[in-house]
């Protein structure tokens, strides 16, 4: 429960979000706690969205030249 969002991977963050939704839908949560959960949920949504856009679409290859290596675009 106390794990920082920044340390979660995408799948864990999604699972946490689903857990929050399960709790909110059960209807037994006191109002203050519900608002807090909602805020957490929205933070997770934002985080997951960022994670999906993180990669830049680079396609590179490794070139070995004797003992040296380099990375070039394909």
């Amino acid at each position: 429960m106390e794990e920082k969002i920044e340390n979660m991977d995408f799948e864990n963050a999604m699972k946490k979000l689903e857990e929050i939704n399960d709790r909110l839908e059960k209807n037994k949560v006191p109002l203050e706690e519900a608002v807090c959960l909602y805020e957490q949920g929205m933070k997770l949504v934002e985080y997951c969205g960022k994670k999906l856009d993180e990669a830049e679409g680079d396609i590179k290859k490794i070139i070995i030249d004797g003992d040296s290596e380099s990375i070039e675009d394909l």
Binding site: E25, L31, K51, L52, A55, D58, K60, K61
Partner: protein, 413 residues
């Protein structure tokens, strides 16, 4: 010699029985050391395994063939299954099946030649690595759901790479890919593939796909080599093996963390559909907002219900009851006290009456008096008094101070 036992019809021309001839030839053949323990190479044809016991087949090359028999005691220890068309090496003894006059070889040992030898070695290696634990489930790493960068070990020019890149682009357009180009067949390919795996394992990739796009089993053989298996097992990143042979499993398939039948299938498994993930995310976001909305609505409704309840609007209603109860209690208490008092007064009066009845006043009114001595003590007997004593006589209306003149005690009757 056998033929000496025969009875020729004429002394000039020796005529033999078939059996004798066959036996003679058999003896000839079996006596020749060159023909015993001989190694032959050929292709199996007309293979039968009679009732699962003795094997009968032909060995042939492009010009000739030879009948073979391999009896149960020899064939039961074979570590492979001989098959029609298989290229094999056979060790055996040339002989004749006399009853049929058939020239044959009795096979005592058989090895799979050519590709068969390869298969043998493959089976041995597979068994050894399996026993070492390289195929065990416990060492298999899970494939990450959303990798940041995918590593690919394959030939730069092959169809495999094209397929993989196209699937990745389609499913997740902004996915990063790092390629380690390696030869995937030919001499020295296994060592180069192993080296490629070791290099890309040190790079910033979240998983590795090893792939080639099909080909004959000989072309794929480098993925059956131990050096490749070791490299896959030692790697820290999860590895998907997709080396393109639909039905057979190569050793790299067994060691890898996941095996897929084709390069495209590997790419689909490695990379999620961004569209699906976005949809899942937006569904959850909506669910969250809606859940909160419903909660707030429910709380508001409950609040409204409380606000319109009679107690809420006129809270003094609660007090009214209390006040009434209190008044009632006080009245009750008052009533009870009065009753008690009345009882006590009556009781007191009765006691006073009794007291008076027991007291001397009434008696004294009838003429009796109380006699006290000079100390104030009651005198109730003449023995307490002597002549000359002072006595106080109390009457109902006063005292009489008197002096005793004479004391006379009455005699008992």
């Amino acid at each position: 010699m056998i033929y000496e036992r025969m009875e020729p019809e004429s002394k000039e021309q020796k005529v033999y029985s078939v059996t004798d001839l066959n036996l003679y030839v058999k003896a000839l053949l079996t006596r020749d050391d060159n023909l015993q323990g001989i190694w032959l190479r050929g292709e199996i044809s007309n293979f039968t395994h009679h009732q699962g016991r003795h094997m009968y087949f032909q060995l042939k090359d492009d010009k000739s063939q030879l009948r073979c028999a391999m009896f149960e005691n020899a064939n039961s220890t074979l570590d492979f299954t001989p098959e029609e068309g298989m290229d094999v090496l056979c060790k055996g003894n040339i002989s004749i099946y006399t009853a049929r006059g058939e020239y044959q070889i009795i096979v005592t040992e058989m090895l799979a030649g050519g590709l068969g030898t390869l298969y043998l070695a493959f089976e041995k290696l597979k068994k050894r690595l399996h026993e070492e634990g390289l195929f065990d489930e416990q060492y298999k790493k899970p494939i990450p759901i959303l990798p940041r960068r995918v590593g690919v070990v394959t030939s730069e020019d092959g169809a495999a790479l094209r397929d993989i890149l196209s699937v990745i682009k389609r499913r997740f357009p902004n996915m990063d890919v790092l390629i380690m180009p390696t030869p995937v067949q030919g001499k020295g390919a296994a060592e180069k593939i192993a080296k490629g795996i070791r290099i890309i394992d040190t790079k910033d990739v979240d998983l590795i796909i090893i792939s080639r796009g099909g080909g004959s089993i000989e072309d794929l053989w480098c993925f059956n080599e131990e050096v490749v298996a070791r490299a896959i097992f030692d790697a820290e990143k999860p590895i998907i093996s997709a080396v393109g042979h639909e039905t057979d499993f190569l050793i790299s398939d067994f060691v890898a963390d996941l095996r897929m039948p084709t390069p495209s299938a590997a790419a689909e498994r490695a990379v999620p559909s961004k569209h699906k993930l976005l949809k899942r995310l937006s569904d959850e976001a909506r669910r969250c907002a809606r859940a909160l909305e419903n909660l707030v609505l429910e709380y508001r409704t409950r609040l409204e219900r409380v606000k319109i309840s009679p107690i809420f609007r006129r809270p003094e209603m609660l007090l009214e009851d209390f006040a009434q109860n209190l008044d009632e209690s006080i009245r009750e208490l008052d009533r009870n006290i009065r009753i008690l008092l009345k009882d006590y007064r009556l009781h007191l009066k009765n006691q006073q009456e009794r007291l008076r009845a027991l007291g001397p006043e009434d008696v004294m009114k009838r003429g009796y008096s109380v006699v006290l001595d000079s100390s104030g003590d009651l005198v109730s007997s003449v023995t307490e008094v002597s002549e000359g004593d002072l006595l106080n006589i109390k009457m109902t209306d006063g005292d009489i101070e008197s002096l005793v003149k004479e004391v006379k005690k009455w005699k008992k009757k």
